[in-house]
C-alpha cells in the first residue's frame, strides 16, 4: 500500500525533527526542527483518513490547510521573537548556561544577564 510508504516517510521526518529539537541549542534550529515535525504531521493527516466512498475526503485537507497557516504564522512570530532575543542577549538560545562560544559568538558581558523580570 502506498499509504504505508507515506506513513513511514512521515515517521522518519518526524523522528528527524524530534532529534533536532532535542539536540540543538540554537533557537533557529529548534524552529526548523519543529517545522519538520509539523510537516510530517500534515503528511500523516493527509494520508491516514484519506477517502470517503472512493472520493477524497475534504475535511482532513481543510484541517491541514488550517494547520499550515497556523504553522506559518507561528514560525514568523517565533522568528521575530528570536531576533529580539538575540539583540538583547547576544546569542539565540534559551538555555541560560549555554557557552556562547558553542554558537560561534563571543561571551556576552554580565550586564546583559538580568534574571529578574520586573514591572516598571
Amino acid at each position: 500500500m502506498t499509504s504505508a510508504v507515506f506513513v513511514l516517510v512521515a515517521a522518519a521526518i518526524f523522528g528527524l525533527g524530534v532529534h533536532g529539537l532535542l539536540v540543538s541549542a540554537h533557537i533557529m534550529r529548534k524552529l526548523l526542527a519543529l517545522n519538520l515535525m509539523l510537516s510530517a504531521l500534515f503528511l500523516l493527516l493527509i494520508v491516514v483518513p484519506a477517502t470517503i466512498d472512493g472520493r477524497p475526503d475534504p475535511v482532513p485537507q481543510a484541517l491541514v490547510l488550517t494547520g499550515i497557516v497556523i504553522a506559518v504564522s507561528t514560525t514568523a512570530f517565533a522568528l521575530a521573537l528570536m531576533v529580539r532575543l538575540f539583540r538583547k542577549q547576544g546569542h539565540a538560545s534559551i538555555h541560560p548556561d549555554i557557552d556562547p562560544r558553542l554558537l560561534g559568538r563571543k561571551a556576552p558581558s554580565k550586564a546583559n544577564k538580568t534574571a529578574q523580570g520586573d514591572d516598571r
Binding site: 515535525m37 475535511v59 484541517l63 504564522s73 521573537l81 538583547k88 542577549q89 523580570g117
Partner: protein, 478 residues
C-alpha cells in the same frame, strides 16, 4: 437561532473587533477602545447565564450546516463558569493594565490589541464544540499569550516567552495528531462522538498530553513558572486566571465527552500525575525566593489538584472541581495583581523585601492573605466549598487515597501561604528598602482586593454556581 445563541457570537466578535479597531486607532484612543470592549463583552454573560440556567446549554451552529461538517459553538455550565472568571479577572486587571501600559511607553503599542485577541482566543476555546475549533482557539490564545509576555522586553521575559512558544507548539503537534487519529477512527470531529465503544487510546493520550503541556501539568509544566513570573503584572493575572484553565477545561471535556468510557487505569494514572503535580508544586512554592514564583508554582500545584477529578468522576466531584476552578481563578488573579503592585513599589518581588509590607502596602498584604485562605481551603471560603464537594465524592466512591490526598493538599498549600504571610506581616522590616517608587493608583489595589473577597464570599453563597454545575457535567449534556 435563539436570541441567546446570537449573544454567543458577541462573546467572540466583540473582543475580536475591538482588537482590530484598536490597531487602527492612535495610541491614546486605543486604550479607551479596549477598555470599552473589555467591559462590553462581560455584559453578555448576564443574559447568557440565565439562558444556561434554564436550558443547560446554549448552542449555535454557523450557517445552518450541522456538525461534523459545520462549525458549532456550545456554551455549557463549565464554560460559563470559566467565562465569568475571565470576565471578572479581566475587568479587575484593567486598572493595572491602564497604568502599566501607558501610551507613552513603546511596548504598550501592541499590548492593547493583543489583550483583546487573547480574550477572543480564550472565549473561543471555551465555546468550541468540536476538536479542531478548539485547536484553532488554543493556538490563537497561545500566540497572544506569548506576545503579551514578550511585551515586557527584558531578557528573562523574552526567553520565557520563547520557551512557552516552543513547548506550546510541541503540545499542539501532539494534539493535532490525536485529532487526526480520532477523525480516522470515527469520521467526525465533534467533541461528542456518539456510538463508539471506546476511543482509540493512542489518540486520547496524544490529545491529553498536548493539552497537559498547555495546562502546565507536571511534568510538562516547565514553561509556566518563568512565564508567569516574568510577565507584566496584569498579563500574569489573566494568564493565571484563564489561559491554563481553558486548556484544562478542554482536557476535561475531551475526557468526559469525547472518550465516554476511558479506561480506569488511565484515570488512576492521570490522578497520580495530578497528585505528583500537587506535591511538587507545593514543595517548589515553599522554596522559592521570589513572590511571583511562589504564586506560579502554587498554580502548578492547583492544576494538579484539579486533575484529581478524573479518578473521582462523579457529578459531585465535578461540582467541586468546577467550583474550585472559579475560586482558584479569582484568587490567583488577585494575587498576581497584588504582586504586580508590590513589584512597582518595591522594585522587585524578592521575598527579602517583603517584611514590613503590611505597613507599606496594607491592601496588598490583605489581598494576599485572603487569596491564601481560599487556596488553603479554610472554611468558609470558596476553596473550602470545592474541597468539601471533592472530599464527599471521594468518600462516596471509596477513594481513600484521593480523600487523604485532598485533605493533605490544604496542609501543603498552608505551608507556602503562611510562609508568605509571616514574611509579609510579622517579620520585622530588617532591611530597609532603599527607594520606594511611587504607588500605583488605589483602584488597582482595590480591584485585586475585590477579586480576593469574591473568592471568599462565593463560599458563603455557592448555590447558584453549584446548581449550574450540577446539571451541566460534560458527558451528560448534549
Amino acid at each position: 437561532m435563539t436570541p441567546a445563541a446570537q449573544l454567543l457570537i458577541g462573546l467572540v466578535f466583540v473582543p475580536l473587533s475591538t482588537a482590530l479597531v484598536a490597531v487602527l486607532l492612535p495610541p491614546r484612543r486605543r486604550r479607551w477602545a479596549v477598555v470599552l470592549g473589555g467591559l462590553a463583552w462581560p455584559c453578555l454573560l448576564v443574559p447568557l447565564s440565565m439562558a444556561v440556567a434554564r436550558e443547560q446549554s446554549v448552542v449555535m451552529v454557523f450557517g445552518g450546516w450541522a456538525p461534523p461538517l459545520g462549525i458549532g459553538w456550545r456554551l455549557d455550565a463549565l464554560g460559563l463558569v470559566v467565562l465569568w472568571v475571565h470576565a471578572l479577572a479581566g475587568i479587575a486587571a484593567l486598572p493595572s493594565a491602564w497604568r502599566r501600559f501607558d501610551p507613552d511607553l513603546p511596548e504598550s503599542g501592541p499590548f492593547w490589541s493583543l489583550w483583546m485577541i487573547l480574550a477572543t482566543g480564550v472565549n473561543l476555546a471555551l465555546l468550541a464544540a468540536d476538536l479542531f475549533n478548539l485547536y484553532v482557539a488554543l493556538e490563537l490564545t497561545t500566540l497572544a499569550a506569548v506576545a503579551l509576555i514578550a511585551t515586557d522586553d527584558g531578557i528573562a521575559a523574552l526567553a520565557a516567552a520563547m520557551r512557552y512558544l516552543l513547548l506550546a507548539v510541541l503540545g499542539s503537534l501532539m494534539y493535532v495528531l490525536g485529532v487526526g487519529l480520532v477523525y480516522a477512527q470515527t469520521g467526525s470531529l465533534a467533541m461528542h462522538q456518539p456510538g463508539i465503544e471506546a476511543l482509540n487510546n493512542v489518540a486520547l493520550v496524544l490529545m491529553l498530553t498536548g493539552l497537559m503541556v498547555k495546562a502546565a501539568i507536571f511534568p510538562l509544566h516547565v514553561w509556566l513558572p518563568h512565564a508567569y513570573s516574568n510577565a507584566p503584572g496584569p498579563v500574569a493575572a489573566i494568564m493565571a486566571a484563564v489561559v491554563g484553565k481553558a486548556a484544562l477545561v478542554a482536557f476535561w471535556r475531551i475526557w468526559f465527552e469525547t472518550a465516554e468510557a476511558p479506561p480506569a487505569q488511565l484515570a488512576d494514572f492521570l490522578g497520580l500525575i495530578g497528585a505528583a503535580a500537587l506535591v511538587y508544586g507545593a514543595i517548589a512554592a515553599y522554596l522559592q525566593p521570589r513572590l511571583k514564583m511562589v504564586i506560579a508554582y502554587s498554580s502548578i500545584s492547583h492544576f494538579g489538584f484539579l486533575l484529581l477529578l478524573l479518578p473521582l468522576a462523579s457529578q459531585q466531584a465535578f461540582q467541586g472541581a468546577g467550583f474550585h476552578l472559579l475560586a482558584h481563578g479569582l484568587a490567583k488573579a488577585a494575587m498576581f495583581l497584588a504582586a504586580a503592585n508590590i513589584v512597582v513599589v518595591l522594585g522587585s518581588d524578592s521575598i527579602r523585601h517583603l517584611p514590613g509590607l503590611d505597613k507599606r502596602m496594607p491592601l496588598e498584604a490583605f489581598t494576599l492573605a485572603l487569596a491564601g485562605v481560599t487556596l488553603i481551603g479554610l472554611p468558609p471560603s470558596g476553596g473550602f466549598t470545592g474541597k468539601w464537594m471533592l472530599l464527599s465524592a471521594a468518600w462516596e466512591t471509596g477513594g481513600w487515597f484521593w480523600l487523604v490526598l485532598i485533605v493533605l493538599s490544604g496542609l501543603m498549600s498552608a505551608a507556602y501561604v503562611f510562609r508568605i504571610l509571616a514574611l509579609t506581616c510579622f517579620h520585622p522590616a530588617r532591611r530597609a528598602v532603599h527607594h520606594l517608587h511611587p504607588r500605583p493608583p488605589k483602584i488597582t489595589s482595590l480591584a485585586a482586593l475585590t477579586l480576593a473577597l469574591l473568592a471568599v464570599v462565593i463560599g458563603l453563597y455557592p448555590h447558584p454556581v453549584l446548581d449550574l454545575l450540577g446539571a451541566g457535567m460534560p458527558g451528560m449534556v448534549r
